[in-house]
């Protein structure tokens, strides 16, 4: 059976070269980086090489990179960390209403703790207006956090403009770059970023490891306390193979970015054009051009998302309806709602997310399958025009 993985925003397949780089740290160089002996020194060096690579990918300094257990933890350290460490300066944070739950639910927690959060709206295509950031900034504002690119609809935010707005008022700017990393250029200097979150498994690295860029001089309180690793910002025995994997994945991802982004963009375009021209009642969610190279998000009239995903899965194609984290729940997507879509419209959403491991042939297979699947589901559905039994 074909197995096509079009769910790369949920997670990606590890690059075999990344796994290869990791294996020695499982098999023979398994020391604890804090240990004084040879095993410890080897592990420590591997850690520092990965830190260098991560820093280089972002235009940062190595000592501004902190390894974490993933995007969620990076986002939480950034938000909770800045909030609790800077409470005396102010209690106001600005974000958008299409952030990932790792941001939004952390903000809800911070509201419980007495912080005030401004959730900026987005337009129909998912864009935050930089002027709205400026308008929201007050004397109490201690952080602006706007994602680099959205995980559901792929809209790319004007982060450098937003960073500029924040900096004009001396406020640090955090960006959740979990989806953006290796999919678009990121430069913490040029883009005016003071904190940045990323997660290795979104770019062919291992699950359970991420990084946080923290500009020197920022005051941040950790979430957890322990043996002092990562300068106390993120203590715990370092996940050496995982961190090596992150380093290898970001190194490869950045080196090959131009080429791979081009390839993904062509597949994305073929998927968008092909589907919209062959399936009736299909619209694109998000921005037509300011979107991640690997994101396609449709809504189909009179088709239900879960059914669509499961029928596609039966055809060997893995895709998703809302974002992965909530796909086992059935809440409507907060992102699609923020874009102005009705609950009924959101219900017919399908996200295809690509990686460098996809190819054009897979797009063609999808284009065959989607017609069959949508037609099949619509054939089951009662036509809207038919009255109810009682009324006949």
């Amino acid at each position: 059976m074909v197995r096509i993985f079009f769910d790369n925003s949920a997670t990606t397949r590890i690059d075999p070269r990344v796994l290869e780089a990791m294996l020695p740290y499982y098999e023979s160089m398994y020391g604890n980086p804090s240990s004084l002996h040879q095993f410890g020194t080897e592990a420590h060096e591997a850690l520092e090489q990965a830190r260098e690579r991560t820093a280089r990918a972002l235009g940062a300094e190595a000592d501004e990179i902190y390894f974490t257990s993933g995007g969620t933890e990076s986002d939480n350290i950034a938000l909770q960390g800045i909030a609790f460490a800077n409470r005396r300066k102010g209690n106001h944070i600005i974000t958008s209403n299409i952030e990932h739950h790792a941001i939004l639910r952390t903000c809800a927690f911070l509201e419980d703790q007495g912080f005030r959060i401004t959730y900026l709206p987005v337009d129909r295509e998912g864009l935050v207006d930089p002027e709205s950031v400026l308008a929201a900034i007050g004397k109490e504002t201690i952080l602006v956090s706007i994602m680099a690119a959205n995980n559901e609809v792929g809209t790319i935010q004007p982060i450098s403009e937003i960073g500029l707005m924040a900096h004009e008022h001396g406020i640090p700017f955090h960006t959740d770059a979990v989806q953006a990393t290796t999919k678009m250029p990121l430069d913490v200097a040029k883009d005016g970023i003071d904190l940045l979150s990323l997660s290795a498994h979104k770019f062919h690295g291992p699950k359970g490891v991420g990084a946080l860029f923290l500009r020197k001089g920022l005051d941040v309180r950790p979430l957890a306390y322990g043996g002092g690793q990562e300068k106390g910002i993120r203590p715990s025995t370092e996940n050496v193979p995982g961190i090596v994997g992150l380093g290898a994945a970001i190194y490869l991802g950045i080196s090959e970015m131009d080429e791979e982004v081009g390839k993904m963009t062509s597949i994305r375009e073929r998927l968008i054009d092909g589907t919209m021209s062959s399936v009736d009642g299909c619209q694109l969610n998000g921005h037509r051009t300011r979107r991640l190279c690997n994101n396609v998000n449709f809504r189909f009239e009179n088709v239900e998302g879960e059914s669509l995903v499961l029928r596609l899965d039966h055809e060997g194609i893995a895709a998703s309806t809302g974002s992965a984290c909530s796909s086992r729940s059935s809440e409507a997507s907060h992102v699609l709602k923020a874009l102005g879509l009705s609950a009924a419209q959101s219900r017919g959403a399908l996200r295809l997310s690509l990686s460098k491991m996809n190819d054009m042939h897979e797009a063609e297979v999808f284009l065959q399958a989607i017609v069959k699947v949508v037609e099949g589901l619509r054939a089951l559905a009662p036509t809207r025009s038919s009255g109810s039994g009682c009324e006949r």
């Binding site: 009179n302 239900e304 879960e306 499961l310 039966h314 089951l380 009662p382 109810s388 039994g389 009682c390």
Partner: protein, 126 residues
């Protein structure tokens, strides 16, 4: 919990799908929140359901549930068919993930209306 094999079978290949226009009684049930809809048509001979047609819009649980329900009521006497609950449907399908059991309620609800419609028509014919 993932869907059972039987749920997936019914979901991929739903039974008794078809136009309900020619049935003896047709019933529609819907869930305003989710937007799920089930339409059920029954053909009755001697108080027995001899043919069923169903149409469904919704998640995999709703589709499989409606399919299974149509299979379960086929050949049954009306009163017996009306006793089938959403839990029976879930059990028939080898279990349902928590929170998805509710998606099987539309079949039974639509049947109630289909029977009402059938009996109403019956009465008119009398």
């Amino acid at each position: 919990m993932a869907y059972s094999k039987k749920v997936m079978e019914h979901f991929i290949d739903p039974r008794n799908v078809g136009d309900t226009a020619d049935s003896d009684g047709e019933g529609r049930a819907s869930n305003a929140m989710d937007g799920d809809i089930v339409v059920l048509g029954i053909t009755v001979v001697d108080n027995k359901i001899v043919d069923v047609k169903q149409q469904v819009f919704g998640c995999a649980a709703a589709i499989a549930g409606s399919s299974a329900f149509s299979e379960m009521i086929l050949g049954k006497e009306i009163e017996e068919a009306l006793k089938i609950s959403k839990e029976d449907v879930a059990e028939y399908l080898g279990g349902m993930p928590e929170g998805k059991i509710k998606c099987s309620i539309l079949g039974p609800e639509a049947l109630v209306k289909a029977v009402e419609a059938y009996r109403g028509r019956d009465r008119k014919v009398d």
